[in-house]
């Protein structure tokens, strides 16, 4: 039984330090290997930590591999604006708006509201969530 290519929208609430974060990354890699498409990857609540430029872990590949995947496949990596602000992750626009003296958004990530996520939800054929929402 072969299935045609389907389009996914993925919500990640698990941080890089939780197992859900790792599961999400490997799932996404496999989605792409199987020839399916990804409309959007939206990071919400603690998931926004994946988009911080300042995270340092023992495994340096952990942070850069999102960028590698994004560059290779043109993946939209979107952080929830409210969740990111609450956790001190900001791009230049947010930093200026909130009058902070620096920004720390990782390359290849962007920041948008939940309406962006729901637009992806209404257009995608498969929606997957990694981590708890409520």
């Amino acid at each position: 039984m072969s299935e045609g290519s389907v389009e996914f929208a993925i919500l990640i609430t698990a941080s890089p330090l939780q197992s859900g974060g790792e599961t999400a990354f490997q799932f996404i890699q496999s989605v792409l290997k199987k020839g399916h498409k990804i409309r959007q990857i939206f990071f919400y609540q603690d998931g926004v930590y994946h988009g911080s430029r300042l995270i340092h872990t023992e495994n340096p590949i952990l942070i850069t591999r999102w960028q590698m995947l994004a560059k290779e496949y043109g993946l939209p990596l979107v952080l929830c604006s409210a969740s990111a602000a609450r956790r001190g992750i900001m791009g230049q626009n947010q930093a200026n708006y909130f009058e902070k003296d620096t920004d720390n958004l990782a390359e290849n990530f962007c920041i948008a509201s939940l309406s962006q996520w729901f637009e992806a939800v209404s257009l995608a054929e498969r929606v997957m969530v990694f981590g708890d929402v409520l």
Binding site: L11, L114, S122, R126, V127, D132, V133, L134
Partner: protein, 113 residues
């Protein structure tokens, strides 16, 4: 299969304090304001969320849900009973569901969070 007619179900499984629940409910309110039909199901310790004191910010947040068009509130009957709670102990009017009714609830929704 596209999520085009927009029935979303959010399941609340834990009790959360005010700071956490404010953020969690962002997504519920956003979905409702964007025109999705939103239902909430409270199970396990999530039912305690509805048994919070009637005064206070937590209660105010939850009782405001119907004003955001989130009116379909469901509770797992077994979860209530296990915790010695009754529907009249809760701050919102709810529909109690048995397991087979929850199965139907999941099938009636395009997406379950």
């Amino acid at each position: 299969m596209k999520t085009s007619n927009g029935n979303l179900l959010f399941i609340v499984k834990h009790f959360k304090g005010l700071a956490q629940i404010r953020e969690s409910f962002d997504i519920v309110l956003a979905a409702s304001s964007l025109g999705f039909n939103v239902s909430l199901l409270f199970i396990d310790d999530g039912v305690f969320q509805l048994a919070c004191p009637k005064e206070g910010d937590l209660s105010a947040l939850l009782t405001a849900l119907p004003f955001y068009d989130v009116q379909k509130i469901y509770v797992a009957k077994e979860s209530l009973e296990e915790r010695r709670l009754k529907p009249q102990d809760l701050i919102l009017s709810v529909t109690c569901l048995l397991p087979n009714e929850m199965t139907k609830l999941f099938l009636d929704h395009n997406l379950v969070f």
